[in-house]
């Protein structure tokens, strides 16, 4: 049999493959790839429990359905809502991670513009690649949740009902995922045109999406709870009520409509789900198309960009206040703050960590009863809100220091700066304080509607003191100018370090919150807190100056040398042989 000639790939297929590859790889620098891998770890870490949690709830659902057969329908609807929510959140988080590749950028236009490719081919290929990503993610999520849920929920009915339930589940979760994904694609294409602000917007969005996922992990187990009473007390069933405004109700309507549940609210919900999803699909296609044309124009006329004007003014002012006329320290502080303010990678790291803080806050608040009364009085779960946020922002800031930014440009420091200077430490510390303090005040302002201005203002002193200590500690644990070293694979040792983070949370958030609670009516206790804060600050300051003597800019060998060769050859070069 004659061998078939190799198939020639069409332009569309080649482009589509390239766009799909863009989601998972970066051709810029190795460290960006390592960064992506570093982000994939926590993502898997978060998505897997988020997946198992609803699956685990299936057993609770089964128990509740057996004990309370009359509640089967409301229970089914609650579970469907949980799965719809998971589908929306998970797809949202994936889209958040792939944010930069969700639309065309100037580089796409510069590379593809001169090639003999029609705009329609490029745009269709991009849309097809994005659709493939959506399908890959949402289909796997929906199948993994849909099969067990349909089997359990349909167990009480006929086989036809099982199939119908499965179809309803797939349709509702896929439509919900499509809605969120297309909304984010639209947003990405729109903010791509907002110069200078899209990085900040992306970070806020990532923070919200990660918070959504983490809050889901906390919220999901509380949605359904069966308390077995035994002989004396009756078995009770607790179900969270989903607010009427929640968009999940639209998709629940679709779910119920397909299942054939009678009711005008389901029909209305189904219509809204289909209508809104169709609208966002159209808007995603339209904005993506417009985005490519805009990037083509930008590639031709880059100066039309409005440019950046300053940025991080308050943070820089705080840093300068601390540094006086020390030029080297000011250079470092301004560099650190500009890098954080203008880079998505650094902001994403901080945003993800802040989201962990938000999850803990929500988790602590959910432990109380449903009404709002317990959170509008001073108590630990309330007073620690800004402290937890500040602590996790600090953790994120420190982690961001290790994320390189424009690494090849770090020769600027190596060539122009002194090799050793405590000013680098002073600049980094001032930048960390300048970054943390305004955020600490914003976090503390969250308490104003709960406790009133006076109590929040009093608490602000403690929050700022803790923020200062965390910033000092963050600067204390690095010994190089942030962002100027390659990311070390395996740097974030979460598996072994989580007890340290837990102890840190206890010391930085729980202890100060408890102390603030006790000091509320006791001026002497307030004075003791102030004394402790001063002692800690002084100790960190001394430790910082001592540590700063070890700070250094990497000496020569930037562009290659023995160390680089040794890494590239992994074991093939005998250490020491190079010096011979």
């Amino acid at each position: 049999m004659a061998a078939l000639p190799p198939r020639r790939r069409g332009r569309f297929e080649i482009l589509c493959r390239a766009f799909v590859a863009q989601f998972f790889a970066s051709e810029s620098v190795t460290s960006a790839m390592q960064l992506r891998r570093a982000m994939a770890g926590p993502l898997a870490f978060l998505l897997v429990p988020a997946l198992f949690m609803p699956l685990q709830m299936v057993t609770t659902f089964e128990a509740a359905a057996v004990r309370f057969p009359q509640m089967l329908e409301p229970l089914t609807r609650l579970m469907a809502t949980v799965f719809i929510m998971y589908s929306m959140v998970a797809v949202g988080v994936i889209a958040g991670v792939m944010w930069d590749s969700l639309s065309f950028d100037r580089r796409d236009a510069m590379v593809l513009g001169p090639l003999p490719l029609g705009a329609s081919t490029v745009i269709t290929a991009k849309i097809a690649a994005m659709a493939m990503l959506l399908l890959l993610v949402s289909l796997s999520i929906s199948l993994m949740t849909g099969v067990p849920f349909a089997l359990v929920a349909g167990n009480h009915k006929s086989a036809a009902d099982v199939v119908r339930h499965f179809v309803a589940h797939m349709a509702a979760t896929l439509t919900a995922a499509t809605f969120v994904y297309c909304l984010l694609v639209t947003l990405r294409a729109l903010v791509g045109g907002v110069s200078g602000r899209h990085v900040a917007l992306a970070s806020v969005l990532r923070f919200l999406l990660f918070s959504g996922l983490l809050c889901f992990i906390v919220f999901a187990p509380t949605a359904l709870n069966v308390t077995y009473g035994g002989r004396r007390r009756p078995t009770t069933l607790q179900m969270q009520t989903i607010p009427g405004w929640s968009p999940t109700n639209w998709f629940l309507g679709l779910h119920e409509w397909i299942r054939g549940t009678p009711g005008a609210e389901w029909d209305g919900g189904a219509r809204r789900a289909i209508g809104f999803t169709a609208a966002v699909i159209v808007s995603a296609v339209a904005t993506t198309t417009a985005g490519y044309r805009r990037q083509l124009q930008r590639a031709l006329a880059p100066s039309a960009d409005a440019g950046v004007h300053g940025g991080a003014r308050l943070q820089r002012a705080i840093a300068r206040l601390m540094l006086g006329r020390d030029q080297l320290a000011r250079a470092t502080a301004d560099f650190v703050l500009a890098t954080i303010v203008r880079n998505g990678s650094q902001q994403a790291t901080i945003a993800i960590n802040a989201a962990i803080g938000l999850m803990l806050i929500v988790g602590a608040l959910l432990r109380t009863t449903g009404d709002a009364a317990p959170i509008i009085r001073p108590r630990t779960a309330v007073l620690w809100i800004p402290l937890v946020l500040v602590y996790w922002i600090g953790i994120g800031l420190r982690a961001a220091f290790f994320m390189p930014s424009d690494l090849p440009a770090s020769w600027t420091f190596r060539f122009n700066g002194p090799l050793r200077a405590s000013a680098f430490w002073a600049g980094t510390r001032a930048a960390a304080i300048g970054f943390m303090v305004p955020l600490a005040l914003v976090a503390d302002a969250l308490l104003v509607p709960l406790l009133g201005f006076r109590a929040a203002a009093w608490h602000a002193a403690i929050v700022v003191a803790v923020a200062l200590a965390i910033a000092e500690a963050a600067a204390l644990t690095v010994d190089f100018v942030p962002f100027t070293r390659p990311y070390e694979p395996g740097h974030a040792r979460l598996k072994t370090r989580w007890p340290l983070y837990a102890i840190g949370l206890y010391v930085c958030a729980f202890v100060p919150a408890r102390a603030a609670l006790h000091a509320a009516g006791d001026p002497a206790a307030g004075a003791r807190i102030a004394e402790t804060a001063l002692v800690v600050a002084a100790a960190l300051e001394i430790a910082g100056w001592w540590r700063s003597r070890k700070w250094q800019i990497d000496p020569a060998e930037e562009f290659g040398g023995e160390s680089e060769i040794a890494v590239l050859d992994i074991g093939l070069v005998v250490p020491g042989a190079l010096q011979q």
Binding site: G307, T339, N343, N416, A556, F559, G560, G561, I565
Partner: protein
């Protein structure tokens, strides 16, 4: 005087430069010439202190430059071959970063930056981040950053790459003026016409070794050749030029 004595650099088994020695004197522009892979960039990076040699020394006024690298670097200005810059900073922000790292006075620094940006024709783009700058604009920023602190030694690696004709003409004059000011200028380039116009003496490298080292006029006279281009072709001996040209045409048509 900047002296390079028996400089050798190995990257594992690869010998980048071998036994390279030359001197660069105040008031002259020393050209470094050579084809790709000849060791020009390695030599330049060792001269700037960004790379340590495997053996050999760099002397400034008789003292080993690597003994007090910080003091040596304080006297250097350097334009690298690749315009690696912090792309999210604006031109003035980058220059301010360099100026502060060089610990220049704030008021003088701002004034200098403004004058450089205006003279180099990038004042209107001062609010743009470097990511939106063209290669020529980035090159201008690098040149400004290299001389911001009025260095004693200026090392330029392909400094005119990406510059338009008029900017290149201005900067050629600037390079000569730097030498006239008594500075030591090392100029590495592929562009022979520019080297011929700008440099007083040239060092020609091939496969990491010096194959020619003299003034342009002496090299021409010694080899009895009409131009630096012919001298370069004779010393570096680019082989099978015609055969390779035809090969390229054939590859294009395939």
């Amino acid at each position: 005087m900047l002296g390079v004595h028996r400089l050798t650099k190995h990257y594992g088994a690869l010998v980048a430069i071998h036994d390279v020695s030359f001197e660069a004197r105040p008031g002259e522009v020393l050209g470094l010439l050579g084809p790709n892979g000849s060791g020009k960039s390695t030599t330049v990076k060792i001269l700037t202190g960004l790379l340590r040699p495997t053996s050999g020394e760099v002397h400034l006024d008789g003292a080993d430059a690597f003994d007090d690298l910080e003091a040596y670097k304080a006297l250097l200005g350097y334009v690298p071959e690749e315009p690696h810059l912090y792309t999210y900073l604006t031109g003035p922000e980058y220059l301010r970063l360099v100026g502060r790292l060089r610990q220049l006075r704030e008021a003088a620094l701002d004034d200098k930056i403004e004058r450089f940006l205006q003279l180099l024709g990038i004042w209107d783009d001062r609010y743009q981040t470097l990511s939106s700058y063209s290669k020529g604009m980035r090159q201008k920023i690098l040149i400004a950053a290299a001389v911001l602190h009025n260095p004693r030694i200026v090392i330029l690696d392909e400094p005119f790459s990406g510059l338009d004709v008029s900017a290149a003409r201005v900067l050629k004059g600037f390079v000569r003026a730097l030498a006239d000011e008594g500075k030591i200028v090392v100029f590495s380039s592929h562009v022979l016409e520019v080297v011929e116009q700008v440099c007083s003496r040239v060092v020609i490298l091939k496969d990491g070794r010096i194959v020619g080292h003299d003034s342009v006029a002496n090299l021409r006279a010694t080899l009895q050749l009409p131009s630096l281009d012919a001298v370069f072709a004779s010393l570096v001996a680019e082989e099978r030029v015609e055969e390779r040209t035809l090969g390229l045409l054939a590859a294009m048509r395939a």
